[in-house]
Symmetry: C2
Subunit: 386 residues, 2 copies
């Protein structure tokens, strides 16, 4: 592909056609089930890519930080697709950080007024009391973070009393508007099979509804349930009794998802183009410029080996299928080591580009800060230099 001639160093490529297809597929699936689609934008991190969701009818989003909320609440700069568009219904799916109170107030106050909602996540009475005491009159939505089995954070799903205490502290009529219960079923990312993904997803949904029912019996009505993870939302035919889903990774997918059986290789919409800088025929390894500062050091285990990414060659229109038996076996700051256990070593010449399908696309996007599309356009993210 002619575009590749101008690539001199590690460059994150985006296949827009695949990304648009991924977005459309998920938006359509969620729409058909009558559920609100609140995609997580922490994967693509780009205002411009955000407009592609908007064009597919999405009007509510999830972000992972206050900075990201700030970025997506701003109007799209002139000259970009969707110019002027901004998001006004944003949930920050991260436990509220007391030190960012003023940032939160500023963002909430700046959202477009019609139907504007800024959602915060809390998981303790102390945090609710802090917000009640210090938040000014600008209202915010409150979601209570529930641990439905992932054990990263959140309140236990099987213990309604402390959750009821948080709800009581939120009260009614004040600036805190209780929306419901929110969880991240991160355990699906370590499932053993596609069937196991769905089991874990449905178990999580079941637990959320158990808690909702228990709270309803205590007189708390109108609680919504928000769940969402790419493996579950991709693989499970029925998304269950939930009000909204928040998958994020599916816009790009990655080889962790491929390995888990969640996506196929031709759904992976991002690849890191890396120059070959050394060859080691004695061990069928190639050294590429492309390391931990480009891909991050996330990996998955395959046949007892750490895999930081799969490997493809250029085609006339982009990159090809992953080379069987080839993988990124080690990363240091700038170096990547690609091991070929089957064919492919001979084909990788010094000065050529290899295309690395990352293990974890969200972190590769953060590291790379911008995309180059297969049509030659640069797409910025929240981390791009202004």
């Amino acid at each position: 592909m002619k575009l590749f001639d101008r690539i001199r160093k590690p460059t994150l490529l985006l296949d827009e056609v695949k990304a648009l297809r991924n977005i459309h597929w998920m938006a359509e699936k969620v729409r058909q089930q009558g559920i609100r689609f609140r995609p997580h934008f922490k994967t693509h991190q780009s205002q411009e890519i955000g407009t592609w969701f908007h064009q597919d009818g999405v009007d509510a989003i999830t972000v992972s930080s206050v900075d990201m909320a700030d970025y997506f609440a701003r109007a799209i700069p002139p000259g970009l697709t969707g110019e002027g568009q901004r998001w006004s219904d944003i949930t920050i799916a991260f436990p509220f950080n007391w030190r960012q109170l003023r940032d939160i107030q500023r963002i909430a106050a700046g959202l477009a007024p019609a139907a504007a909602r800024l959602g915060l996540v809390v998981e303790s009475v102390e945090t609710v009391n802090f917000l009640t005491r210090y938040l000014d009159s600008t209202g915010v939505d409150i979601w209570i973070k529930i641990d439905a089995g992932y054990h990263r954070t959140g309140m236990a799903w099987d213990n309604p009393a402390p959750v009821a205490d948080v709800i009581e502290a939120i009260g009614s009529g004040g600036p805190l508007r209780l929306r419901g219960l929110l969880t991240h079923a991160g355990q699906t990312f370590t499932a053993s099979s596609p069937a196991d993904v769905c089991d874990k997803y449905q178990t999580s949904v079941g637990r959320m509804n158990y808690l909702r029912d228990a709270l309803t019996q205590r007189g708390v009505t109108s609680l919504q349930v928000s769940v969402g993870d790419t493996p579950g939302c991709t693989l499970c035919a029925d998304l269950g009794q939930v009000d909204e889903v928040r998958p994020g990774n599916f816009v790009l997918y990655d080889t962790m998802q491929l390995h888990l059986g969640v996506c196929s290789a031709d759904q992976i919409a991002a690849a890191l183009a890396c120059p070959v800088v050394a060859k080691h025929p004695e061990r069928n390894e190639v050294v590429i410029h492309g390391g931990a500062i480009h891909l991050s050091k996330d990996y998955f285990m395959q046949d007892g080996e750490k895999v930081y990414g799969h490997v493809a060659f250029a085609t006339e229109t982009g990159w090809g299928e992953p080379v069987a038996g080839a993988y990124v076996s080690a990363l240091s700051q700038e170096h990547g080591v690609v091991r070929f256990t089957g064919a492919g070593f001979e084909q990788a010449a010094l000065g050529d580009l290899l295309f690395i399908l990352p293990a974890h696309s969200c972190l590769a996007v953060t590291a790379m800060k911008e995309y180059l599309t297969l049509t030659g356009k640069v797409i910025s993210t929240m981390n791009s230099n202004p």
Copy 2:
């Protein structure tokens, strides 16, 4: 410490006193052995911190990428310590990437003329032939990358014939000026003890000299030997028969080095300040804002567990000793999980800051893009927004 009141989100703190002490200690040690000190700047990545080395007599540096060479070859912007200073003796310790030929030419041509040297690393006849054919008349230094046991990249130390072929291809009188043999003894980073570090370092130095001697017997004279890694250069009393050393990490150190017995806790000069956002007394865990996008996902193994960093509390003047038994046990994009196996859990309150001593400081610096010093000054790096 009053400075900490203004920290709202994950912030990379730099203890200048410790960093200056680390720089001075290493510069002095190397100077006393009559060896050239060519520190690796891939750890701190900052023009301003570079001037601290300059003040300690350093005039030659190592970088890990062409972009980094470009950054350090530029004059220090007005208003910063060392204003106007620029580096003119730079080795890019990464196998030469054919696609960056023009960038290399531009940097070489722009270096200050007096004693200016740009060093490139090669490891094949093909790459030398490529440079001979396409590089313009601006001269560059050539180092041949040798694999002295790390097996990441480089030519085998125990096979002089192919190295002699590369030297023959370099020739003499052209734009390529042969300097010598270069290795990175990365195997010291996975040593089992301080004594093992020194064994591995000395073995590597011995292999480099074996190769130099073998090439001398073939009539190749004046070859220099360049080695360097923080564990070896810190721990080994005698740095051996080498012409220059290139350690980098020692300016900040980190908990991987602490774990290896290379440094003490009070030599670690960087810590990530992270707000506490959730507490889980049932498992003595605290959730912080501080994840893979701030610390990277590098880790070391301790007692069978992955450790992404150690944990300290604030003191009047900075951060304290690492809390015994406390460590970062998991990282996702924005979340960090801190596990307390001894005391400390009670002391970490919602809204407080915990100070994470990273497992791998180089990657945390890349991720965070700038430092806040304990005296309240922001220090930029090559990745800072302009």
